[in-house]
């Protein structure tokens, strides 16, 4: 798989404050890559650096093999950005907004007119295409901003907090659109978010930032194995078990908790579960349900952020 983005020893400083510090990673063509972190972690700064809007303090960036600082215009021709605020011209109509940006992307006039119609239809805005944007709801504005980012059929689509301040219905719509767009033509989607559920749902790989430092990078499974080893399994019983259970007298069990008829085991890996169930049955346990809990992105994220907080204090 080719790399769309290569970042090497990237640091960026505003006066004395580091927004990014010695960052290294690659983003592959065709993947959905999520950059996670609290506000001020350096997510928006990364998008701006990748598009040549800022000059890096140190390090190198390559987007499609080009340097954003020297060839920013050529790079931006092949990228689309959904900014954190919709940044739409509210006194213009949706169609006028798209035509304006399409011309700046250098789309030929006949293609632009055709594509504007198609895209308005695709984003379900064709019924209100000639209304001023100021009359749009938040969800409609977000869809229009996404339509604008997609207008030039970008090879990399940057989405900065795409569902911030949207209601659940609009959030679902935007998620469906992102999934649809990411499946087309091997397009890379670079998603900046602090919504962990959103990243877990959409991303192939995630990078976690804190205060300009890269804390972790990989698929959620990889990060789970590395930072939250083992998995939890809940086992529900009909009646309480009489035997005293401890992690030491159960093979492959790392930790144990119980509350009433529910037993919670942290096991080394999934293969321990059948052995654990046999063991409990041998101890006369009447099992009604076995519920393995996968490590969530939320578990990984908060473990890493808490570690940073603790080491700082």
């Amino acid at each position: 798989m080719n790399e769309s983005i290569v970042i090497e020893h990237l640091s960026h400083r505003f006066d004395e404050r580091y927004a990014l510090r010695d960052i290294n990673y690659e983003v592959r063509q065709g993947e959905v890559f999520a950059l996670l972190g609290p506000n001020g972690a350096g997510k928006t700064t990364t998008i701006r650096l990748l598009n040549g809007l800022y000059k890096p303090t140190e390090g190198r960036i390559h987007v499609f093999g080009k340097d954003p600082l020297r060839e920013g215009s050529a790079i931006r021709k092949e990228t689309g950005v959904l900014t954190e605020t919709t940044a739409l011209y509210e006194r213009l109509t949706a169609r006028e907004n798209l035509l304006f940006f399409g011309r700046l992307y250098g789309l030929p006039e006949s293609l632009l007119l055709k594509r504007t119609d198609e895209i308005l239809q695709f984003f379900a805005l064709n019924g209100r295409a000639d209304d001023r944007v100021s009359a749009y709801s938040k969800g409609m504005k977000q869809r229009l901003a996404l339509a604008r980012a997609f207008l030039n059929h970008p090879r990399i689509l940057y989405l900065d907090e795409p569902t911030a301040s949207l209601d659940p219905e609009s959030t679902l719509q935007v998620h469906e659109l992102i999934e649809l767009l990411s499946r087309e033509d091997g397009r890379t989607v670079f998603l900046c978010t602090h919504h962990l559920v959103e990243a877990e749902k959409l991303a192939d790989r995630v990078a976690i930032l804190n205060n300009g430092n890269l804390l972790a990078l990989g698929t959620i499974e990889e990060l789970g194995r590395r930072f939250c080893p083992g998995m939890w399994v809940d086992i529900m019983l009909l009646n309480p078990i009489e035997d005293k259970l401890t992690p030491e007298n159960l093979r492959g069990v790392l930790a144990f908790e119980h509350e009433g008829n529910t037993l919670r085991f942290q096991v080394q890996e999934e293969s321990v579960i059948p052995m654990l169930v046999s063991e409990l049955v041998a101890r006369k346990a009447e099992i009604t349900r076995v519920n393995p809990q996968k490590v969530s992105l939320e578990d990984i994220y908060f473990k890493l952020q808490n570690e940073v907080r603790e080491s700082a204090s």
């Binding site: 809007l53 800022y54 215009s73 900014t83």
Partner: protein
């Protein structure tokens, strides 16, 4: 340099400006007052009191002003009666600086909307992510402020020519306007002063957060023109063809220097720093 990009930005900015009442209202009202109402009122006023004792042209100050005027102006009014020379001096001479206030006002109000207004509404970020270069963005916005300012001034000049000649015809008995000194004023000085308005507004826009802030600060430039007006009225300065050409030249040099600074402030990093 991609001219399609530059023209696209200029057209969009002009369209947005025309939909902002704070912008289009002065563009409508100011020419209406300077080009139609004031000359109309003055010519009719002077014509009505023709020959009467109360004629303000008999005022000793005005008489002294006429006595002190330079050769080229005395030439212009030679052989005219008092009312005719009064009309020529007021309408064809003292009114001239208003045609510098207009392009200055128009260019500052549109530039404030185009540069500071776009930042105030945070729409500039999406614009910075397009392939347009910093220079193309700057030139697009410059064109958006400069072109309408000059075109409205020229349109106003044509309207003024018609109004003045039509209203004063019963007194003058001929088409007498424009006087030669107006050609450098309209074709040379007014574009130069429009550029000055844009350059100063761009520099001020980099420091203030809002459209109104930029407009009000750069509006103080009008004081320059008022000084010119006062200079003319008191007889210290006479706007001849040569003076017009020289003023235009000095303005263009100042424009060039200010534009160089303005272009430097207009880069993506600096613009982003002001919206965060």
């Amino acid at each position: 340099m991609n001219w399609r990009t530059i023209i696209t930005i200029a057209r969009k900015d002009i369209k947005e400006a025309t939909q902002n009442r704070s912008v289009w209202l002065p563009l409508l009202i100011v020419p209406l007052i300077f080009v139609v109402l004031m000359p109309l009122g003055m010519i009719l006023g002077i014509s009505t009191v023709r020959g009467s004792e109360a004629n303000p042209l008999n005022d000793p100050d005005f008489v002294m002003f006429i006595e002190r005027m330079p050769e080229f102006l005395s030439e212009t009014i030679r052989g005219m009666d008092q009312t005719q020379s009064g009309i020529v001096l007021l309408i064809g001479y003292l009114f001239a600086p208003f045609f510098l206030i207009m392009p200055l006002m128009f260019s500052t109000v549109i530039a404030a909307e185009s540069f500071a207004g776009e930042r105030e509404r945070k729409t500039i970020e999406a614009l910075l992510y397009t392939p347009a270069t910093d220079t193309e963005l700057f030139l697009g916005k410059l064109l958006a402020a400069f072109t309408p300012a000059v075109l409205i001034t020229w349109g106003g000049f044509i309207a003024y020519t018609i109004v003045v000649n039509a209203t004063a015809y019963p007194v003058m008995n001929r088409i007498w306007f424009p006087l030669p000194s107006w050609y450098p004023l309209i074709l040379w000085v007014s574009p130069a002063i429009s550029l000055l308005g844009v350059a100063v507004t761009v520099l001020i826009s980099a420091k203030v957060q809002t459209f109104m802030g930029a407009y009000q600060s750069s509006g103080s430039l009008v004081l320059l023109v008022l000084a010119l007006l006062a200079g003319q009225a008191t007889g210290i300065l006479y706007l001849s063809v040569l003076t017009g050409i020289l003023i235009g030249l000095v303005l263009l040099i100042i424009d060039g220097v200010l534009m160089m600074y303005a272009i430097r402030t207009f880069n993506r990093s600096a613009l982003l720093a002001t919206i965060d």
